[in-house]
Symmetry: C3
Subunit: 157 residues, 3 copies
C-alpha cells in the first residue's frame, strides 16, 4: 500500500508552523493516550504560552478573530499530537472536536467560529481530518479567552 | 442465545419515525466509528434539516417544549446510528449523552429537559438504552436552539 | 513487577472517606464500562445525595468554596469507580475530567476551581491520577450547583 498523504508535508507546503506543545500544568496533563486514541485537554488560543485572544465573540471579539482564535487552538492540538506520536503523519483519523465559544448574548454562529479549527484540520489532514464536532456557546472561559477546544484523535497502529 | 429485543420493532410499535440523518457539513461529519464505538456530533432539534425549536428554556421556551426538543435530538441520534449500523438493532449499549440546555437565568431543571431524550432512548432500547449523562446549562447555542446533545454508542461486534 | 501504589491505602492515610456512590436516576445511570474504560455521568457536589454547595463561583460562592465543591465531585467519582471496580487500586489511569464551573460575569479562574478535584485525584492516585482536563465556565447548572464534573477512567486489565 502506498501512503501518499503526509500532513507534515502539507503543513510545510502551507507555510504553517506549530507552537510549542502546551505544557503540563500542576496535576493535569495536556494529553493522554489510550490504545490508539489520544485525548487532549482543552486548549486555548495561546502561542508558546502567550494568550493571543481574550474577550467575547459577537461582542469585543469579531467572528473573524474568533475563527482565528480557533485556528490557533487547532495548531496547539496538532502540536500535542506531534509531541506524542512523533509526527502528524501518524494520525489515522480525527474523531472529535469539542469546541466552546464564549458568546455575546444572542450570538448564534458558534459553528462559523469553530470552522476556523475544523477547516484548518481538514486542509492539513484531508479525509483523515474529518471529525465529529460539538459546537457550543458559553458565558465564560478560563483566562477570558473566546474559544476552548479539546480533541480525540486516533493514531495509526 | 435468543435475542428478543428489537429497538426497530419497538420504534414501529410506538408509531415513531426517524428524520433523515443529519448531513455532513463542510469539514466535519455527523458521526465517526472507532472500533465498536460511534461518536456523534452535537445534534440540534431539527427535522430533515428544519430547526423546530429556538429560544431559551425557562424563558421563551417552556420546560415541556425543551423536553420535546430533546426528544427530537434523540431521534436524530437514532437516525445517525441507523445510517452507520444499518439498524437500531445493532446497538449493544448507549454509553453517554452530553446534553446542553440553553437556560434562562436561575433555571435549574436541565435534567428534566434532557429526560426528553433519555426517556425516549430507554423506551426504545430498554436496558441497552441506559446511558451516562452530562446535563449542563449554557447561555448560547448554535442557531439559537434550546438543546444540543451528542452521544457515544457501542455497537454489537 | 512489584506494585507499591495503593490509592485505597493513600485514601486511608489522608483520613478521607467516600460518600455513597451516586444512585441511578430514571433512565440514565451513573457509570458505564466499555472494555477497560469507565465513563461517569456528570457528578455534582452532593454527599450521600444531599447537595452541599449552590450558587455562582465568583459571585455568592468563593473560589475556595468552589474548589471544595470540586473536591466533593472528585470523591463522588472515586465512589463510582470503587463501586464498579471493587477497589480504587484497580485504576490504571485517569484519562479525562470534564469540569464545568458556574461562573459570575468576568470570572476567569475555572482552572483554580477545578484544581480542587485534580489535586485531590493526584494526591490519592499519584501518576495514575494525572488526567487531561476540560476546564469550562457556564451560566447555569442543575440544581443551581457551582460545579459539575464527569470522568473517563481506565481500569487495569
Amino acid at each position: 500500500m502506498l501512503n501518499v498523504d503526509s500532513p507534515e508535508a502539507t503543513l510545510r507546503a502551507l507555510g504553517l508552523e506549530l507552537p510549542e506543545a502546551p505544557k503540563a500544568l500542576a496535576s493535569y496533563v495536556p494529553v493522554q493516550q489510550v490504545g490508539e486514541l489520544l485525548y487532549t485537554s482543552g486548549v486555548i488560543p495561546s502561542w508558546n504560552g502567550e494568550v493571543k485572544f481574550r474577550g467575547v465573540v459577537g461582542g469585543d471579539v469579531s467572528l473573524k478573530d474568533g475563527a482565528r482564535a480557533a485556528e490557533i487552538c487547532a495548531l496547539n492540538i496538532m502540536a500535542l499530537v506531534r509531541q506524542v506520536a512523533g509526527s502528524l503523519d501518524q494520525v489515522e483519523q480525527f474523531i472529535q472536536l469539542s469546541g466552546f465559544v464564549r458568546s455575546a448574548a444572542g450570538f448564534e454562529e458558534q459553528p462559523k467560529v469553530l470552522n476556523g479549527a475544523s477547516d484548518l484540520i481538514y486542509k492539513v489532514f484531508g479525509e483523515r481530518g474529518r471529525h465529529t464536532r460539538q459546537a457550543l456557546g458559553t458565558s465564560e472561559l478560563p483566562l477570558g479567552v473566546p474559544v476552548e477546544i479539546s480533541a480525540i484523535v486516533r493514531l495509526k497502529r
